[in-house]
Symmetry: C2
Subunit: 197 residues, 2 copies
DNA sequence: GTCTATACTTTGATAGAC
DNA sequence: GTCTATCAAAGTATAGAC
């Protein structure tokens, strides 16, 4: 079915983007990994590689935020949820030999100055994470500005830790990032209690 | 002179890596930007693009750490130095229309799973920053483990903030990263005083 | 030794057979 | 509508003129 081919192409592209980035991933590589004929890329994505890339970025962004929500729904203690999210990302990294990190981060740095439609797609994903993540922290009593600041610091720590961990093939940076995120969250929650009280 | 050509090639490559990344930068693009004949790349870098890339990564790593030391030598208050370093990086980003970030970060994510010599070069740079940065914080009274943790968190925050800032073409993430770095530093210094006292 | 011309591969994209 | 054959351009690398 056509939809299945489309799905396979999107999945294969996301996988390849994580390992090789946007410019490092060829359309021929993609159709080979998706077991699809070459022409099907342009059938399903008339805009070519750029359109396919943008859809993969947006789709991956949604999937990662769902994972974030899953963990925060399951863990009542926000500090433990924060720790669990970072260490879970680290565990995925480790079991895939430090290959499966965030497909958006790599693409974001590559295209920021060269491909405006794709830059906008990465910016949209990050802003969506920030807005929806901030809403969660507001639910814990944080002021809007404090909640937004905290989630921005999370994303920066997470993406930076992905970079360091993949380069070193070590979880050390992810563990230190987890500790920083927990400390920042604890301080923000404490601050909100002090202000309210 | 031969050395000048070599320098021009290294400078041009570093500049292009920041904007287009490793796979996105072609050798033809490099020699054009450096006003050098094509053959001179292989004359000065017999290992081709890979050797050139590794040298650029190591060289850029040294330059960025020198900048870090310059700022920390000039500012006696460590909290102000931390803030100044992050905001200075943000200012450079802004005046270059969010193009001139860290040439190592982009390359690091691209090559982590595809080019082992280059991955090792990026890992070497990050580890060098961490070791030498930690030495500075130990000088302020931090335990070795605490100093190492703090500088790792800095680098993660900085690289992550570069990513978010370039995607959004906004300094917001860099400003929040600066605040996080200052807060983490303040807490670490306080902790070391408490322990010593 | 500096540089030019070229070889060979792979890229994104398209036209047209079936 | 699915897929194959092919395009022009750009990629890295090399051979050889001067």
């Amino acid at each position: 079915m056509a939809t299945q081919t489309r799905e396979r192409i999107l999945d294969a592209t996301a996988e390849l983007f994580r390992r090789h980035g946007y410019t490092g991933t060829g359309l021929k590589q993609i159709v080979a990994a998706a077991s699809a004929p070459f022409g099907s890329v342009y059938h399903h994505f008339p805009g070519g590689k750029e359109q396919l890339g943008a859809e993969v970025v947006l789709r991956s962004g949604r999937m990662y935020f769902e994972l974030f929500e899953l963990i925060f729904d399951a863990e009542p203690d926000p500090l433990e949820a924060v720790r669990g999210f970072f260490l879970g990302a680290g565990e995925t990294l480790r079991v895939t030999d430090y290959a499966d990190a965030c497909p958006i981060g790599t693409v974001a740095l590559e295209v920021a100055s060269t491909n405006e439609p794709l830059r906008l797609a990465t910016a949209e994903v990050f802003e969506d994470w920030i807005v929806r993540g901030a809403a969660r922290f507001e639910g814990l009593g944080l002021e809007p500005a404090a909640a937004r600041a905290l989630i921005i610091q999370f994303v920066a720590l997470l993406e930076g830790a992905f970079m360091l961990a993949r380069a070193a093939k070590s979880l050390e940076a992810m563990e230190r990032a987890a500790e920083a995120a927990v400390a920042l969250t604890r301080a923000a929650l404490q601050q909100s209690v002090d202000t309210a009280g």
